[in-house]
């Protein structure tokens, strides 16, 4: 691979964007690799996890990695946050990057279904077949959650529509 000319990278801007999206720890990372050593994303073989993602961001990479789906494999297990010696809260940086990706709709198409379902029913996961299963074990076909509650659905729609997510045109 050809060498990267770091002086031409947009480091300040990318770092600021990460901070603005909730990843204030990005400047603290010293590449000790502790997060990577226990990260399920790394262990499962995804290419862009923890320390490597942070280094990319620290050096101003953004366009180059915007489409990478690794960050969406983050389980939010927070083991990294628990052990990070710099208290950089790696999980929060990963999610900040996710939010940057989401802001440009650089997300997999499979992510849209739960979002639309959340907007419509208040539940990210729902299937009609559940009614049968519930009756089978002696429960009423629908629970008392928002699924059967129009007012609750209105409320969740108000919250979603009035935030930045409403502007993405997903719903």
């Amino acid at each position: 691979m050809a060498a990267i000319n770091l002086s031409k990278m947009n480091q300040e801007e990318v770092i600021q964007a990460v901070i603005d999206h909730g990843g204030a720890g990005i400047t603290k990372c010293i590449q000790c690799n502790a997060c990577a050593s226990v990260c399920p994303v790394a262990k499962a073989g995804f290419p862009l996890f923890g320390r490597l993602l942070f280094r990319k961001l620290q050096t101003g990479h953004y366009e180059e990695i915007i489409e990478d789906a690794s960050s969406w494999a983050c389980q939010a297990c927070n083991r990294c946050t628990e052990i990070c010696p710099r208290d950089a809260k790696p999980f929060e940086i990963v999610f900040a990057f996710r939010r940057m990706q989401a802001g440009e709709l650089a997300i997999s198409t499979s992510a849209f279904t739960p979002l639309m379902s959340l907007h419509a029913t208040g539940h990210a996961v729902y299937s009609e077949t559940s009614q049968e299963l519930r009756e089978q074990v002696g429960l009423p076909p629908v629970p008392v959650t928002s699924i059967a509650d129009e007012k609750a659905q209105k409320e969740i729609q108000t919250l979603l529509d009035n935030g930045p997510m409403g502007e993405l045109g997903i719903f």
């Binding site: 499962a44 919250l159 997510m165």
Partner: protein, 305 residues
């Protein structure tokens, strides 16, 4: 009777309602009245609002917690993801005045106000910390003597410890679920990948093959090190992965064994003598045999006079 708001989430009521039913059976018997949280929504799942905008996340979590506040109860959830999402949200709201202000601006749109009176608990925390092992022991009808359990506490109940009301003594070597199983008189040996991730959730929807790969490592590790009679978890996501993905692996010929999987309250309900048709009826990995074994005559606990 102590009261607790039961927050169902999505997976439990729609994919594994027998877990929901096990809550309904187990908790009243242990002296906890479950209070419905009408109109509760998704927590919201990590892949939804938390991946887009923190304030929207806090608004939705804050709304769910607010439903409990209005009924003057704490929240109990059986899903680790819901627990993690809402605990972190609550921690942020409690410690960041600006975020809290924004939250209440958002909640004002739907005529709600976050007060901060209700705490977020996990089912296993309520069982372990508020009910206690002693009371569970008194409620049992069947013993699990000489049965070996591999426990799967799951991730979000362990980390970050900062946000939790009830904490493990050492979150990297958790013992709460182990103790909850041991009170059923089962054998719960340590295995090395105890705190490893199961691969469910965001990872599975992003890349199923890699998710299964991670899962298989863990499952095989369990099998090889301790060869358990069953796997017991207190996370509904882990439950679905262990139950469902195990089937996938078997069908694709990657493993040649099967280990029945229970959500802890299902197992507890069985030990209390409840009907498996209600509390342990839906699974991809068969468990009829082990259920029969558990509720057999030989395992009846003799009541002392």
């Amino acid at each position: 009777m102590e009261k607790c708001g039961i927050y169902l989430g999505c997976n439990i009521p729609f994919k594994a309602p027998d877990i929901e039913q096990s809550f309904n059976k187990v908790f009243p018997k242990l002296g906890v009245e479950l209070v419905d949280l009408e109109g509760a929504t998704c927590c919201p799942a990590w892949g939804t609002a938390p991946s887009f905008d923190i304030d929207t996340w806090l608004a939705i979590s804050g709304r769910n917690i607010n439903i409990a506040e209005e009924k003057d109860v704490d929240i109990m959830t059986g899903c680790n993801s819901c627990f993690g999402v809402m605990s972190e949200a609550k921690h942020m709201i409690d410690h960041d005045a600006a975020k809290r202000k924004k939250l209440n601006e958002n909640l004002a749109l739907i005529d709600r106000k976050f007060k901060g009176n209700s705490d977020v608990f996990h089912v296993s925390h309520v069982l372990y910390d508020r009910i206690g092992l002693e009371k569970i022991k008194e409620s049992l009808k069947y013993t699990l003597k000489e049965l070996k359990i591999a426990v799967q506490p799951g991730c979000h109940i362990l980390w970050p410890t900062e946000v939790m009301e009830v904490k493990e003594k050492n979150s990297f070597f958790p013992t709460i679920l182990k103790e909850l199983c041991e009170v059923l008189e089962a054998d719960v040996p340590h295995y090395s990948a105890l705190n490893a991730c199961c691969g469910m959730g965001a990872m599975r929807s992003t890349d199923q093959a890699r998710s299964f790969g991670l899962f298989k490592t863990k499952l095989v590790n369990m099998k090889e090190e301790i060869d358990p009679d069953m796997i017991v978890t207190t996370c509904s996501s882990c439950y679905l992965q262990f139950d469902g993905a195990q089937k996938n692996l078997r069908e694709s010929g990657e493993i040649d064994f099967e280990i029945p999987v229970f959500y802890y309250t299902q197992l507890l309900a069985l030990c209390m003598g409840f009907d498996p048709k209600n509390v342990a009826a839906i699974s991809a990995t068969p468990r009829d045999q082990i259920i029969q074994k558990i509720q057999s005559e030989a395992r009846l606990i003799k009541q002392e006079a």
